[in-house]
């Protein structure tokens, strides 16, 4: 950067964002960030999207990050504004989403006095950020902003927080954005060991029943093309976790679905009966493994990850490879090409045939009939309407609808399935869809939501309509906190406790219209396709209230603590839960 320039701390924040190439941020003003918002008013190339709740702003920033691979940015004032960001920060921490949160703080001399809207937000968020800064000297602001972006997106991605007291925002500095960061303690791996890459390649070459078990790290590491190249070269089957969904084209012949609690039985068979499990930016989460000791018991493990702390955290790795996945996968492919040149050939064809047999034997099943439309039908119809398009991004809330979305929506383009995996944050869907729309204005962004989730963040429909960030909400409305109901039904003798929300209250169509969005109510399968098609093409924010069977369960299912291959399966006759 060229010479320095006198300005206020508040302006320095925006100039920093501009240098970082940030186009859109999300936030809500308040007392302790007034100088920063005045700087927005005085002009910036950065677009500020006004959310209706700071949690929404945070999830929007996450949605932008997940749809684009860039760092998301959220602003909030001190105290309650900052604490409302805690959920998105925790979510970004669990799902390794690059996020810079900028919060206002009370004036420096008031810190520690329990001043109005004071909260020790760096203290509150300490266990769930990669790092945080409380700015104490305005001259340090540019280097802190630079460091914040650097830490958020290097190594394993994640959230950081910059807390800026109001007097620092009002103080003058000579602004010069540094060219490099000075963080002697921050040295994420930049290159994997060639010996480990060779060892991984050799193990893969010799495996009869290998499986690529792909997680969200692949998307964060932008290694989708390298993954595809590796899989195709050596005919390796691929399963993706919920977070890894869309890292591999899902209609590809080598794609074998999703392992875990609600993955198809054939996907879990394929994952658990392999002889070599290649973890690619995945972390052996309990929702994937079921009973850990029974997970892929016959497999050796190759673990590829940018974060060495994931190696051996839950499952011993026979071959650990730590570094950027893009480089690692490329390196393994290069080694396999060399082997191929010497006459070595893949041995996976019988294994691929075996998985294909399981696929035939154990398809996803549900039964239509009864008084209600089935939720699976809603997802199947949405899939059919969007199957030919490569410009559709899905987001979800958390619960049954999320699992059906995983099972029935096939994503062939990277970064087109945005969901809260690790933290399981209900209400993630609508704001993250808005953020994705800001990142990809060309795309049609569809939030598959549940009625419970919808009511946690539906105020952001105002943001969608007023900020011209139209999204389509496909509401899988079963009138219940459905996943909780399912667990109460299965494991607490069907004693339903505090889970009934009703189909009718609120009137979702009227609510959508109240927010300036298009509203649809669908009660029968006959009206479904027309309403969804209209919502997808209307160009406005739309809410399609699909009233579905209140007692439909998500199957198959690995009960907690059970081995992944001991899945509960869908049982006809209809009406029975399992």
């Amino acid at each position: 950067m060229s010479g320095s320039k006198k300005m206020l701390g508040a302006d320095a924040v925006l100039r920093s964002l501009e240098v970082e190439g940030v186009e859109t941020v999300f936030g809500i003003p308040g007392g302790a960030v007034l100088p920063i918002y005045d700087a927005f008013a005085r002009g910036s190339t950065v677009r500020h999207v006004l959310a209706r709740h700071e949690q929404g702003a945070g999830h929007m920033a996450q949605g932008l990050a997940r749809a684009s691979g860039k760092v998301g940015v959220a602003f909030a004032t001190s105290g309650p504004g900052a604490t409302n960001l805690v959920t998105p920060i925790a979510d970004a921490w669990m799902d390794s989403t690059p996020l810079v949160c900028v919060t206002g703080q009370v004036r420096s001399h008031l810190i520690g006095t329990d001043a109005f809207q004071e909260c020790d937000i760096t203290g509150v968020t300490m266990p769930i950020v990669k790092h945080s800064w409380l700015v104490q000297d305005v001259e340090e602001l540019p280097s802190i902003m630079k460091a914040a972006f650097h830490v958020a997106r290097t190594g394993r991605c994640g959230p950081v927080l910059v807390d800026i007291p109001r007097d620092i925002q009002e103080a003058e500095l000579s602004f010069k954005y540094p060219d490099s960061v000075d963080l002697p303690g921050w040295k994420p791996p930049t290159k994997a060991h060639p010996r480990q890459i060779r060892e991984a390649a050799s193990r893969i070459a010799n495996a009869d029943k290998p499986m690529l078990y792909v997680g969200g790290g692949t998307l964060n590491g932008d290694a989708m093309a390298e993954l595809l190249e590796l899989a195709e070269l050596w005919r390796l089957p691929v399963v993706t976790t919920l977070m890894g969904k869309s890292a591999f084209p899902e209609t590809h012949e080598l794609f074998m679905g999703w392992p875990g609690m609600h993955g198809p039985k054939w996907s879990n068979y394929a994952t658990n009966k392999c002889d070599l499990l290649v973890a690619v930016g995945s972390r052996f989460d309990d929702r994937v493994t079921g009973k850990l000791s029974a997970f892929a018991p016959g497999a050796d493990v190759i673990h590829l990850d940018i974060d060495s702390a994931e190696i051996g955290k839950l499952r011993h790795a026979d071959v650990p490879v730590v570094g950027p996945l893009k480089q690692i996968l490329h390196g393994i492919t290069a080694e396999l090409r060399k082997l191929h040149a010497t006459g070595a050939r893949t041995k996976t064809e019988p294994w691929l045939r075996q998985i294909a047999e399981w696929r035939e034997e154990f398809p996803l099943r549900y039964a239509k009939g009864g008084d209600f439309m089935k939720p699976q039908t809603v997802l199947e119809t949405l899939q059919a309407l969007t199957a030919d398009r490569d410009d559709v991004i899905f987001s979800t809330g958390v619960g049954q609808h999320q699992m059906w979305a995983m099972q029935y929506l096939l994503c062939n383009q990277p970064r087109t399935f945005i969901t809260s995996g690790g933290l399981g944050t209900m209400g993630f869907g609508i704001p993250s869809a808005i953020g994705a729309k800001a990142a990809r204005p060309d795309a049609t962004v569809v939030c598959v939501d549940g009625d419970g989730c919808f009511q946690m963040t539906c105020q952001e429909l105002a943001t969608a309509t007023l900020e011209q960030l139209p999204i389509v909400v496909v509401l899988v409305n079963n009138g219940y906190l459905g996943m909780v109901q399912q667990w109460q039904s299965l494991f607490f003798e069907d004693r339903l406790s505090q889970v009934h929300l009703t189909h009718q209250v609120p009137d979702y169509q009227a609510l959508a219209e109240a927010y300036g969005a298009a509203g649809f109510t669908v009660t029968s399968e006959g009206d479904l396709e027309g309403a969804l098609a209209e919502a997808l093409t209307c160009g406005r924010t739309a809410v399609v209230d699909c009233r579905v069977d209140p007692r439909e369960g998500v199957f198959p299912m690995i009960p907690t603590g059970a081995a992944a291959i001991d899945m509960l399966e869908f049982q006809d006759p209809q009406g029975a839960m399992a």
Partner: protein, 169 residues
Amino acid sequence: MKHTVSVLVENKPGALARVSTMFARRAFNIESLSVGPTERHDVSRITLRVDCERHSIEQIEKQMHKLVNVLRVSELEPGEAVERELALIKVHAPADKRHELVALAEVFHARVADLGADALIFEVVGSPEELDSFEELVRPYGVKEMARTGRIGLGRSSATTTPLRKQHV
């Protein structure tokens, strides 16, 4: 099994809190922790004593490496490191017992740091195990109060401590 971990951190606000928060969050127990300056004004040393399995200590080390303020993590191997601790022990000491107590203290090179009408404060430096023994010995006389610093340590000049790289496996 017990391990002593020596951590060099940037001397910045919150560095200690970040280390201790990580321990709490990952459910690792700290037996003792001491922090103080080093030969460099901008670097502090945290010495931690933890009781855990080998697998956990590796996790602890890797998780600490990810903290931005952490510069270096090493495990101090017993036998390859000098480990010391300081204790102040206030012992009930009526006039007729003083002579006996002071004689005991001499064995441990403990110094009398304060002398009152019916109590005295011993200052004793040694390995934490030596301090345990001394405390055992004076306990029958009546320990009124005790403060210990927690252990600090340095790898011997002849040995290399196990430097745990910031890089990777």
